[in-house]
Structures are given as C-alpha cells and as structure tokens.
C-alpha cells in the first residue's frame, strides 16, 4: 500500500497496531506547494473595535494557508486571492466600522469552518479535528473540495460575463426621453438587450481572476444555505443527501445570485447624499444625462413604489438613502429570485418552484414567511408575463398555483405548500396588489438585468437542460471523463426522493476530482 502511495505521489500515514492500540505512526514526507510571491497586500486596520477580529483573521488565514500548502494548491491559490481582495474590501472608504467588523466576523467563521472541515483526516490525522463531529476523524475534505469547485466554476462564468462593466457601459448610451416608469412593458424600448453593449465596440473583457474575491465555502448546520459578502455555506445535510431534490447542490445558485445582485445594486444605487440628491433632481426634471443615470433613477423609484410608505412623496436625498436602507434586503430578495429563475433555471417554472419549495420545506417554523416566499416566487414567474395582456399578474398567480399543486403531489415533504396554496386562493386580490408593487423591480430584473448576451455567457450554469447531458454516466461508477459543467451534473443526479449517503458522496467525489472549473 505504501509503495502504491509513493508511486502515485499520494500522502500516506502508516499505523502499527497492537490489538486496538496504535503503537507507532509513520507519515510520508510533507509535500509543500509553493506560490509565486504575492502582490503586496494592504495592512489590516488597527483600531480598538476590530482588533480582536483582525488578530483572529490573521491566525486563521495563516493556519489555513499552512494546511493548504501541504494539501491543495487549489485551496492555497483561492486563499491568497481571498486575502488580497478581502483586505481591499474592508479598507474601502465605502465600508464603515460596523460593516468592517461584520465582514471580519463572517470571514473568520467561514475560514474556521472551511479549514477544519477540509483538512480533518489529512496527515497527521491526530493533529486535525472537524467540527462536524460525526466526521471528526476523517473529515469531509472531499465534500469541501466539491463545494469549492462549484464556487470556482460559477466564478469563472460570472467573470466571463462581466455584468458590472456591461452595466457601467450604459453611461455611454443616451437616455430615453421621458420617465421609464411610465413606459408600458411591451414598449419597444424594453425589447433591446441592455447589457449587449455597442454594436461596433468590443465587448467587455472578462474580469481577471485576481480581481474577484472568491467566497470562502463551507458547510454549516446553523446557517444552512446562506451567503454573505465573503462566504457561502451549505447545510450539513447536503453531504449525506445531495442526491435528493431537497438537499441538492443546485440551491447554491440562489445563494450565489445574491452576491451578483449585491454587486449590481452596489453600482446602480446611489450611495452618497450627493448622488441621491442628483437622482431626486433628475426625477423632478424628467431629464437624464445618460441611460445609466436613468436606470438608477428608475431603480430608486421602484424601491419607493415597493416600500410601505409609497403613498408619501420623496422629500430629499436623505429620504432616498433611508428608503434604500429600509427596503434593500426585501428588494434584493425579489431581484435575486428573478435572477436565479431567469439565468440558472432558464425560466422553467416547474423546476424552479420544485427546487425552492423543496428546500424551504426543511426549514422549521417559516409559516409566517409563506406570504413573502410566495411573492418572491410570483415575482420570478412574473418576469415572463409582465408584458402579457389582459392580466399578466393574474396569469402569474394561476401558473404558481398550478405549479405548487403539481409539486406538492411529487414531493414527500412539503409542509408549507398547502398553506401557500390556501393563501393564494383565498387572498388573491391582495396578493395581486402586492405583486403590482413589485412590478417595477420585476421589470428591471427582466429587461435590464436579464440579457440574452449574458445568458449565453452563463450557459454552463443554466440547469434547464439537465437530464440529458450526463445520460450515459451510471450512478456510483467512477468514470474518468471530465464533468462539464458541474451544476448540470449535480442537477442530473439530484432527483431522488430518498437520501443515500453513497450516492451523495459519489456526486461530491465526481465533482471534487472531475469537475472543470472554467
């Protein structure tokens, strides 16, 4: 065995046993991956309020790097890029002290989980531990690697699409006369591909890998499916049950979409008083210097329309900033659902509804949030009906009802769907009214953020074609073929009703070692 390990350049550990006692441990010489000298990173802040978090971050980063340097060049490179971009992020003038502290805490939590989960069970085994206690000896490094590979794949797709530069290029387009909120959804203005760019100028270049902060991925029983500005977590159940619709790895796309929408909103929304005063002045005049500014004003108007205080006029720039702060989270949820539905699920209503309600079905005590979840789903579906007459909203509700009924018949565990159907049937006029409040956000998602050009570039992340791509590969067999793209592979093999540890680990192993990340 040792000879085989040496021949294949695999790290090994040899235990001599006397009965049940380990009498001697021999380990292979440690392999060290070396990286080219890193560009000079910014110094971490030295301020009393964040000092402890900064210290912890330094330790965690160094410990993670040290472990990665003997185990995985893939993780080592990702950590170096993370460190560089993370320092830039927390020292950005747009990040205040409390947000800096929040980012540090999130980064530390994710790094600590990732490090303990990935390297538990690596040699020397006795010196590692895993916080996931049922795996405290040999760890879940393989699952952690699979998760990180999917993150890297999504990163590469999004870097290639470069949505942000495409959005910023709208400042070179003339504004449309009048106010966009008054334009009907089937106006020819909305039929253009806003993110396509100018006909005769080259398209934006892909974002260099070094410019992107790679989210630290980990598993978390407490956080479940969750993303922050610096991390992305999946529930622990994914490890043993990723072969099921409920715990499918596909749900990652939703969490990932949150970060894309966060970046878009970060560029499009005004962030200073001066910018918001400008928006107010433009709205009053009905004149806009360019299309980007016009869309910024439309987004602010959409947030106001969506807010509970939309009956009162906007008073000043400070009021706009207040509205943004108060409504950013729910509005971002609406846009994220629309983005996920349009790009990753390619507008497939049944696949999307099955996926989101299956994953919500395992969250305890969300009865009070059902109305909100329904409206997010409705907003996503409404992206396809917004221009339809006579009543696109009515059609969206009917489609959601049809889909929920169909999903409820196929899902074993769907405790909230019956409540959702009741709510839709009994409170239809009110739901329709609330959907109308989100209509401008839906319009922005459908006509501005969704672009056929970008969809082509994100093609490998779209899962609607699942079911055909890997048809020749049999489950539980290890094929040497590359897995491209990994998300469709995950979609193909996560259709089971019953969880199977073997099938789940097979999916994760294949992705960990066979997935293409480009």
């Amino acid at each position: 065995m040792r000879q085989l390990a040496v021949q294949t350049d695999s790290p090994w550990e040899e235990w001599s046993l006397l009965g049940a006692a380990i009498t001697r441990v021999r380990i292979s010489p440690r392999r060290i991956y070396r990286r080219p000298r890193r560009p000079a990173a910014q110094r971490l802040p030295d301020e009393p309020q964040t000092r402890d978090s900064v210290r912890e971050y330094r330790c965690l980063m160094q410990s993670s790097r040290a472990r990665a340097s003997s185990q995985s060049l893939f993780f080592l490179e990702a950590l170096d890029r993370f460190d560089l971009r993370f320092r830039d992020l927390i020292l950005s003038p747009r990040v205040d002290l409390s947000n800096r502290h929040r980012l540090l805490v999130n980064a530390n939590a994710a790094l600590s989980r990732q490090s303990s989960q990935t390297y538990a069970g690596t040699s020397p085994i006795f010196e590692t531990e895993c916080h996931y206690w049922t795996h405290s000896l040999l760890g879940i490094g393989l699952a952690s690697l699979a998760l990180s590979k999917i993150r890297a794949f999504l990163d590469s797709q999004v870097r290639r699409a470069n949505i942000i530069d495409r959005l910023l290029a709208l400042s070179t387009f003339p504004a449309q006369p009048g106010r966009l909120e008054n334009l009907r959804a089937n106006d020819v203005f909305w039929s253009q591909d806003f993110l396509k760019g100018h006909e005769h100028t080259p398209p934006p270049q892909p974002i260099p890998e070094s410019n992107v902060l790679p989210l630290v991925t980990c598993f978390s029983g407490r956080d479940g499916f969750r993303s922050t500005d610096v991390s992305l977590s999946l529930p622990l159940e994914t490890i043993s049950s990723s072969n099921t619709q409920v715990w499918t790895l596909l749900t990652m796309t939703h969490e990932y979409a949150h970060n894309i929408i966060g970046a878009i909103l970060g560029k499009l929304l005004p962030s200073t008083l001066a910018e918001s005063e400008e928006v107010l002045a433009m709205q009053k005049e009905g004149a806009f210097p360019d299309l980007f500014q016009q869309l910024r004003a439309l987004l602010c108007f959409a947030l106001w329309r969506f807010s509970p205080e939309s009956r009162h006029a906007i008073q000043n720039g400070e009021h706009i900033l207040g509205l943004i702060a108060a409504n950013l989270h729910p509005a971002s949820e609406v846009l994220t659902h629309c983005f996920d539905f349009l790009y990753f699920y390619e507008g497939d209503v049944d696949a999307y509804i099955r996926s989101v309600w299956a994953s919500w079905g395992v969250i305890p005590n969300i009865q009070r949030r059902i109305r909100d979840y329904l409206l997010r789903c409705l907003s996503a579906i409404h992206t396809q009906n917004i221009a339809r007459s006579p009543s696109g909203a009515n059609l969206s509700i009917t489609q959601l009802l049809t889909s929920l009924n169909a999903v409820s018949a196929t899902l074993d565990n769907s405790p909230y769907i019956a409540d959702a159907v009741n709510l839709l049937e009994n409170d239809r006029p009110q739901i329709e009214e609330e959907l109308e409040k989100r209509e401008l956000l839906v319009k922005i998602a459908r006509y501005v953020i969704y672009s056929p050009t970008v969809a082509r570039l994100l093609e490998g992340s779209a899962t609607a074609t699942a079911g055909t791509r890997f048809a020749g590969q049999r489950s539980l067999e290890f094929s040497p073929e590359r897995i491209d793209p990994p998300l469709i592979f995950a979609a193909d093999y996560s259709r089971d009703t019953l969880a199977s540890f073997a099938r789940s680990m097979w999916i994760l192993t294949q992705i960990a070692f066979r997935a293409d990340t480009e």
């Binding site: 089937n186 039929s191 591909d193 507008g347 497939d348 209503v349 049944d350 396809q384 009906n385 221009a387 339809r388 007459s389 006579p390 059609l395 009917t398 489609q399 049809t402 889909s403 056929p452």
Partner: protein, 220 residues
C-alpha cells in the same frame, strides 16, 4: 357522453355542407357527443386505409367533428391527414367544402408585439425572398415570440404554422396552420375544451378569414 380512445388528431377547419354530406354517407357510424360542440363518428371500410398489415375484415376509423357557432363551419380531425382526405373524398366534401385562411403570419407578429395568455412553443416559417437556398425554418421552445433570436429573424420569415401553449396550465394545446390545418393530442373532454379555447381565441382576434376560400389539401 361517448368515450373513445386517445389519439393524435389531425384535420382541418372547413366550411360547406358537412353535416348533410356526412349524414348521407352510408359508411359513417355516429358515435355520439364527446363534449359541448364535439361529436365522434366512425368510418367503416372494407379495406385498410392506414397501412394496416391485416388484409381481411372490416376496419373502423374514428373522427372528431366540431361544430362552430356559425352554421356550416366545422373542424374535422382523424388519426392522419390521409384518413381525413379519404373521408372528405368519399363523402364528396372535397369538392363542395373549402378551408379558411388563418393569418398565422399576423398572429406571430402580434404575439411578438403584445404577448397573450398563450405562448408559441413551435413556429414553422418559410424564408421570404426569391430563390432562397434556405427555404424554411422551424423553432421550438417555451415562448418563441419573446426570444431575441427569433425576433431578430422575424423580418425574413413568413410563419405558416404555430403550436399554442396554454401558460396557465403549462400544457401544449395544439397547432394551427395558415390553410386551416389543425393538430392536437385528443385525450378526452379536457383536450377538446382547450382546443375550443384556442379556436375561440383565433376567432375573437379575427385571425380566421372565411372569405378566403382555400382548396382543402392536407397532403401538401
């Protein structure tokens, strides 16, 4: 209500003395009503008409007949275009009835400009222009009229057949051609009701032109 087996129905809209011709054709056996406006008839034949390999015996072929609110306007569907043409020929309808023109080209352009509660899941089109080396294109999808690729090609296309998808139920209803051809999967009263709705939609929007009297030719 009568029950007959499901089958993929192919046929045509037509105008003419249909009821009289079918009532007087002695090889037709009425099977009863299937749904409001719809009835079924069976054609008896001594010889196989659908390529059956059994040489002897008598053969029965089911047809669906839909009466329009307008007298003399019908939809006749069978298991294949050949069978419908045979029935029309044997019952003398081929010479006395005609098919209307359906403005599929206009319909597709209207769907692009203002989507409705139906989407188009298939569009068949000829390429405009003389001596084109590429003569026709077919598109398949969930909502073709909203696809940028299709919209970009539309100025060069002359759509002649479309398939309707009902968005509320998410089901494909059937297809209609510019010479009144109709195809749908008959699977009971529900499928007939859905097809009724499509025909009512086409009628309400003025896409069916009964003034243009076209020769029935399903074998084209």
């Amino acid at each position: 209500m009568t029950q007959i087996k499901s089958f993929p129905a192919t046929g045509t809209l037509l105008a003419g003395p249909v009821e009289y011709a079918l009532d007087t054709y002695r090889h037709l056996r009425p099977l009863g009503n299937l749904a409001p406006g719809w009835s079924a008839v069976a054609l008896e034949s001594e010889t196989p008409l659908h390529g059956e390999m059994v040489p002897l015996g008598s053969f029965l072929y089911n047809f669906l007949l839909r009466r329009s609110a307008q007298p003399d306007h019908f939809l006749l569907c069978g298991l294949s275009a050949d069978l419908v043409m045979t029935l029309l020929a044997r019952s003398t309808l081929l010479s006395s009835a005609f098919a209307p023109q359906v403005a599929i080209d206009t319909l597709v352009r209207d769907f692009v400009a203002a989507p409705t509660s139906y989407s188009l899941s298939a569009v068949y089109a000829r390429i405009r222009g003389f001596r084109q080396t590429l003569r026709s294109m077919s598109f398949f999808g969930s909502d073709i009229a909203s696809a940028a690729l299709f919209r970009n090609h539309l100025p060069d296309l002359q759509p002649y057949r479309v398939t309707f998808r009902d968005l509320a139920s998410g089901t494909e209803v059937g297809s209609v051609g510019s010479r009144g051809e109709v195809n749908f999967a008959f699977s009971g009263p529900r499928s007939l009701a859905r097809m009724n709705d499509v025909l009512a939609f086409l009628h309400a929007k003025g896409y069916i032109n009964w003034q243009r009297r076209l020769k029935i030719d399903l074998a084209r």
